[in-house]
């Protein structure tokens, strides 16, 4: 039964990977990679049960946090063009942020 769930998650990961490769905008790719990371956490947990080594769950926990930080870092880089910029109060207000001139497409 763990095998069936593992195969299903692998297929779903393949779909997310296809979207990450096809994605027309960069946000599609970021979304697909984020979803891929979530599925990776589930896959690690399932593999731990499949091979009777529940220690894998620690790796899954770390992976969940790294995935989140990676997504936020990529989005911050896209918005500010620099990871060193302190985001500050205007980083999520929408219209007041220092919008770099970005070419569409």
């Amino acid at each position: 039964m763990f095998t069936a769930a593992t195969i299903a998650i692998l297929v779903a990961m393949g779909m997310a990977l296809a979207r990450a490769l096809l994605g027309p905008t960069v946000f599609d790719r970021v979304l697909a990679v984020n979803s891929f990371g979530t599925k990776t956490v589930l896959l690690i947990a399932l593999l731990g049960f499949l091979s009777d080594r529940p220690d894998f769950l620690d790796i899954g926990m770390v992976y969940a946090l790294i995935n989140f930080i990676g997504t936020i870092a990529v989005l911050k880089f896209l918005k500010f063009g620099d990871l060193g910029t302190p985001g500050g109060a205007d980083s999520d207000s929408g219209d007041a942020g220092p919008q770099e001139s970005r070419s569409q497409g």
Binding site: M1, M13, R19, F27, L31, S35, F49, M61, I72, L78
Partner: protein, 111 residues
């Protein structure tokens, strides 16, 4: 009792796998990035919750269950945050969502 737990955890694992597949299919087939976010939310919430619940039923009351619940809590905190940041970034970069042809951005009928 053990058989009952096994059956319950298999049902949860299968349902979680099905939701993961549905989310992946939506991620692949939906037309624009906002619709794809909606599909990816299925994987992040129901798929994760059902699979982790199925695994926790297999593990019983042990340390493994605590780790599983911690993973679930991390994912439930981080995935809405990153999806919010992604939607915000996409909207601010000028990407408009697909709309029905006779509606404007607030859902009002166009005149």
């Amino acid at each position: 009792m053990a058989v009952l737990l096994d059956v319950a955890s298999w049902a949860l694992l299968l349902a979680g796998s099905a939701f993961c597949l549905i989310g992946g299919l939506g991620l692949l087939r939906f037309p624009d990035v906002y619709a794809r976010m909606h599909a990816s939310g299925i994987t992040d919430t129901l798929g994760t919750m059902l699979i982790v619940a199925g695994l926790a039923l297999q593990a019983g009351w042990t340390q493994v269950t605590i780790k599983l619940v911690l993973i679930l809590i991390f994912l439930l905190f981080t995935s809405p945050t990153s999806t919010y940041a992604l939607a915000n970034a996409a909207y601010n970069s000028g990407l408009k969502p697909f709309l029905a042809p006779d509606r404007d951005l607030d859902g009002e009928a166009k005149r």
